[in-house]
């Protein structure tokens, strides 16, 4: 070991908490520069609109740490929403159970295909992306039928809340904490890291590689479906035109949060910071009058590129250190 441990530690902290630091800096800068930014209303709107992406991103974090990718989440999000709105005519329970069962099943199937047949996650979940969107269109008459939420208890789940924040924000927070514990403090979480870090080594160390992968995709499917459900409750309808390209936003947020696309490293804190960072950028751009929202994507893209370059440099520094 030639390098100083200090430098190695610095690069590790940057890797893990870089997104959080940038987020903090951006929030402070935004508050100083714009009056509208540092208001409770604005903060709440950022949190509410970020919560759906965040739920999906939690599942995606597990997938990416395990060395995989899940492209089907955008489709599952809209599928879950439409099913929830459709199911709400039969009451709250169906509105929740139907979409979760359907999305969980898709995730499970994808996981089984990936883990048992060794097919590439990219291809399997690309098939999921196309197939699930097709299913959604099939049950909504090519997207023409928008089911409205009939159950008021279900609608309250998306719209009600306390302290100025709606329930989805609290649900997201609980899920994030649970996911952190799951990832850091349980055997399953350790297995996810091991599979993504060195699949062959993990197998030789006795890690149930296939089972771990199945669970990861099952979880991602369930969470994407749940996000769709909550969103349908918020909108009081199963809007069919949502979620196109959402999987890419989610992946971007996870990577910005410091999770390596190659697997084996990352965490929930970073992912949440990554989602909020994108939300804050969007909020700033939306409200700085003369910029169109198209710029948000340009900025997000540039930022993602920056993060990937930084990760590469940091990774090199750690190896040399």
């Amino acid at each position: 070991m030639t390098g100083s441990p200090g430098r190695e530690q610095v690069s590790r902290v940057l890797q893990q908490h870089g997104a959080l630091m940038v987020l903090a800096a951006l929030v402070i800068a935004g508050s100083l520069a714009f009056d509208f930014f540092a208001t409770a209303g604005n903060a709440a709107s950022i949190l509410v609109s970020s919560s759906f992406t965040a739920i999906i991103a939690i599942g995606m974090t597990f997938v990416i740490i395990s060395g995989g990718i899940d492209l089907s989440v955008g489709s599952l999000f809209v599928f879950g929403g439409v099913l929830a709105a459709y199911g709400s005519q039969y009451g709250l329970f169906v509105a929740l159970a139907l979409p979760l069962a359907a999305c969980g099943l898709v995730g499970l199937l994808q996981g089984l295909l990936i883990a048992r047949t060794g097919m590439a996650p990219f291809i399997v979940t690309l098939a999921g992306l196309l197939g699930v969107r097709g299913l959604m269109l099939a049950i909504s008459d090519e997207g023409a039928t928008t089911y409205l939420v009939k159950d008021s208890a279900f609608a309250r789940l998306g719209q009600g809340g306390v302290f100025g924040l709606t329930w989805p924000v609290y649900i997201t927070a609980i899920l994030a904490v649970a996911a952190m514990v799951l990832l850091q403090r349980t055997a399953f979480g350790q297995n996810v890291y091991a599979v993504g870090g060195n699949e062959q080594g993990a197998a030789l160390m006795g890690v149930p590689v296939a089972r771990t992968k199945v669970y990861v995709y099952l979880m991602s499917g369930l969470l994407a479906g749940l996000a769709g459900v909550l969103n349908a409750a918020r909108l009081s309808s199963g809007v069919t035109i949502l979620g196109i390209g959402l999987e890419l936003d989610v992946i971007a947020a996870v990577v910005i949060g410091g999770t390596l696309l190659t697997g084996g490293a990352g965490g929930i804190t970073g992912t949440i910071a990554g989602v909020l960072l994108l939300g804050v950028i969007q909020s700033l751009i939306n409200q700085v009058g003369n910029l169109t929202s198209a710029f948000q994507q340009v900025v997000s893209g540039l930022f993602l590129a920056l993060v990937v370059v930084a990760q590469r440099l940091l990774g090199r520094a750690q190896r040399l250190g």
């Binding site: 070991m1 190695e8 590790r12 514990v181 850091q184 403090r185 349980t186 055997a187 350790q190 297995n191 890291y193 091991a194 870090g197 060195n198 062959q200 080594g201 993990a202 197998a203 030789l204 160390m205 006795g206 890690v207 390596l260 084996g264 490293a265 750690q318 190896r319 250190g321």
Partner: protein
Amino acid sequence: MLEARQISKRFPGVVALDGVSLALFPGEVHALVGENGAGKSTLIKVFTGVHRPDGGELIYNGSPVAFGTPLDAQRAGISTIYQEVNLVPMMSVARNLMLGREPRGRLGVIDTAAMYREAERILAGYGVVTDVRRPLRTLGMGVQQMVALARAVAIDARVVIMDEPTSSLEPREVETLFSVIGKLKDDGIAVVYVSHRLDELYEVCDRVTVLRDGRVAHTGPLAGLERLKLISLMLGRDLDEVKSGGLTRFSRDRRRARERDGAPPAVRAEGLTRRQVLRGVDVSVWPGEVVGLGGLLGAGRSETAKAIVGALPLDAGRVLVAGLPLRTGSTTAAVRAGVALLPEDRKAEGIIPELSVRENIALAALPSLSRAGVVSDAKIDKVVEVFMRRLRIKAASPHQPVQELSGGNQQKVLLARWLAIRPKILLLDEPTRGIDVGAKAEVQALVDELAEEGLGVLLISSDLEELVEGADRILVLREGAVVGELSGDDVTEDKIMASIAERGAESDG
């Protein structure tokens, strides 16, 4: 304790193990040696549940067992330390060490504080003091190897299999490893020790089993077995035959040692150094000369060749082609300067099986066969035709996919590919492995011919006979350093073996 009885294992086209028997006793360190392809790794994989034997049986603690997966074998108490560390580099030391048996606190959640304490305690027993929260990859290879060892032993192992455990260790770490092995012995654990470093074998092992071509060539106590005898067993050359062979061999017409008449060598490598692999290797090959590289597996022969073409990152050293220094670490620069490497593993590193003979031959020479990026078909046809005739490549047509050709013809296609760039120096790594006798002779004759025409050739071969007959001069490598040079009448099999066997005094430090 663990016994293999008449184990056989076949893979498509090869018999990897043919009736191999081996008995391990508690508290013994058993050396398992053999050259490449002798069946060592297959045997280890049978022991550890990666492969299932086709014939024979495993007896463990007195009863027959069949391991379906590595996990089964581990649960039974057989653990393995692989040559490359098979841990998860990005996870922390403690999590690697404890993966699968983390201490639990309340609610079944991992108790990290207890995990770190336990990891520190275990590692201290191996002389490793480090921050166990650091990612494993930030530690040196030796420490990583120790973590792997600690993990292997900590899961109540009764049998520990070590596959080349010292290949990435520093001498000091090797000592620690040996003291750990001593402790394992005292605890009645059986150790299988695979290594090519003879000094180590003699230092720690009690008994030895030599595998050759999937059979047991010898088994017995190691003390009292002459080094030369051990090597001859591994290489499959009868000792007496070798000794007399050196004397009766007809004095061959060695090519005039193109003595250094002012012309620079076709290639000169100076001080090639890479941690754990090469320790200052100097090699020069003059035009028209065939230089052989001898030594056991892992001595650094292939690595030397790879370093010369820039495929192995170097810590120090440089390569000059025809007197001009080469940009290091760039295979493009090396190929452009006229260095061609015929790699050891032609399937993985050489031919592109689906492409035709023609395309495979033309691949490397495309830049010289095209103008402004557009490839001239006519030129390719000409080059391909010339080489197919010259190398007597037997193919239905130039358009036949290479994968349909025999191994010997595939090798010739590769040779043609590199000859098409008109190299100054040709590096051949095991050019005749896995090809039949007839094709072997042809390839050897071809190498001779090419050298006659002024090409410099560096020949790597585990086949001593091939080395002796093909090379004008032989450099013997051991543990990444040149330990002997033989030329003229000294180029004999027994001299090479003696040179390999010499006690590595300089490596004991």
